[in-house]
């Protein structure tokens, strides 16, 4: 029960980082060797050496963050807000050392200028138990929209 509660709180915190544009806070949730991965479709087994919508280590996450924060990130200038809802949190595996694997579902609404887009899908989190709480070893994002043509692009993590 405690693990379920802790994991849910962790996932909600991560979603909140995105919706409040706390980019550094979001990156800090990853372990030093953590990876954020969004495969092109559900059949992919690994991010390594494959086409990927996102396949980012902390260095690349930092590039993305610095870009978004740069005053000349033209496409980031318009009004832009997101709202994430995370649910269906199921713990799949708990190791003796407290490391945990958890799946969940998300729905994200994005507003950009006058346009609304919806993205939905599932998260798979591989979490490492540390003294300061969980750290993300791997976050896999299987977006239901992934295989459709993208009307415009994704600028930040989902």
């Amino acid at each position: 029960m405690k693990a379920q509660h802790d994991v849910e709180q962790f996932l909600y915190r991560q979603a909140e980082c995105l919706d409040t544009k706390n980019w550094q806070g979001w990156i800090d949730l990853f372990a030093a060797d953590g990876i954020y991965w969004m495969p092109p479709d559900a059949s992919y087994k690994t991010w390594d050496g494959q086409p990927a919508i996102f396949a980012e280590d902390k260095n690349l996450m930092t590039v993305r963050m610095l870009r978004v924060l740069h005053p000349d990130a033209w496409s980031q200038r318009p009004l832009w807000e997101t709202n994430h809802v995370v649910s269906n949190v199921v713990i799949r595996k708990v190791a003796k050392n407290g490391d945990i694997e958890v799946t969940s579902r998300f729905h994200m609404m994005e507003l950009r200028r006058d346009d609304v887009r919806h993205f939905a899908g599932s998260y798979f989190h591989k979490l490492k138990k540390t003294k300061k709480g969980y750290a993300i070893k791997l976050q896999r994002v299987d977006m239901t929209n992934a295989q459709a043509a993208y009307d415009y692009v994704l600028q930040v993590w989902v």
Partner: protein
Amino acid sequence: MASQREADLSKFVEPDRVRKEVYTDAAIFEREMERIHETVWIYCGHESQVPKAGDYCQVQIGRQPMIMVRGKDKKVNLLYNRCPHRDNMIVGDRKGNTGDQFRCSYHAWTFHHDGKLKNIPMMESGYAGTRLNKDSPELCVKKAARVESYRGFVFASLAASGPSLKDFLGESIVAFDDMCDRAPEGEVEVVPNCFRVIQHSNWKFFMENQIDALHPSVTHQSTGRAAHEVEKILAKKAKAGEALSYHMLSAFATVTIDKWDNFQTINYPHGHCILTGYMGLRPQDPDTLAYDKVMIKAYGKKRFEEIVGVNIHHVLVYPGLSVQSPLQQLRAVRPLGVDRTLTEIWHFRLKGAPEPIYRRSLAYYNLVNSPATLINADDLENFWKCHTGLSSDGGDWVSFARHHGHDIEKDGHVESAPNQGTSEAPMRNQMKAWAEFMR
């Protein structure tokens, strides 16, 4: 502006400027689909997308939904995606394998891979005495008028006559030679699947932007700076190899505007263009050296030097193909409407090359061309802003005057002058070709 359907469009294009309606007018769009996209050679796909008999994928040529399918005779066919009965699309999936035949989902008419009619239910009883019998040509799925393949890259023309593929491509054929020659086996294969991104603008913006050497340091400043910051941190940690993929991005900021003038564009008939000068140059890291070794073994030292010495950044094959051969990337432009355009972005693997070489260009593919791109986000924003700005009555012309009058004409092509790589010569050349096609 329907009256422009038959209007003389030649006055819309001047040597250094173009009327804005060329981008925004729906009637002009219809006419360019008819005269350009549904007439000239259009890139359909690569043969490795359909390796087995019955493998197919959908392709858009101009306004025409088409099917690219591999036959039992190994031939790649291009068919109109339309059942000759009631116009039902023959296939609804973007790709797949149709087995021995196509079978229409509406009334079970069946067709061979080359479009020939195989069977119609009740052929004897239902059609006796009608204008149709099983040998009627109108009962076959229509084929593209012409299909040709060059080094595995399949093109189709919906016009029965016109220049051959090779004549149409002219010098731009180097895009495919350069890509394939860089493979020790002389061939490439697709890395499935392509990324697909829609832009809210006319298709021509994409083609103009690809070889606009002035825009990167402005449009992509934020990504360039961000990558440069991280690159510096990594360099301190002495992980030079790891920093290479960031270098591709940081170059957008660290290569200053005047340096982009060192590039050169060579502009050819039919609107094609080659942008020379390659940011990566010849790295000397262990992965590159290992690749060089394999290449020398395959081709010999002399030929190897020729191959890797080809100095190309981008090749534009008008009207809808952008090829970055040294990085094995290809972008196919599919106009969806006057203000909507789809790009399909493919990555190719050099057959016989060591894995790290694939991974290097893959990193570029993911960073620059994925739907989470750090680069095209700002391009697409500009395209939308351009297209929307064109609806304004603030002016009637789009300017392509940069370095106009300085270009060098020789041997039937037009080169940007030395140190004038940012010349808008490619846009002038594209619009000149456009006016000729639209005549």
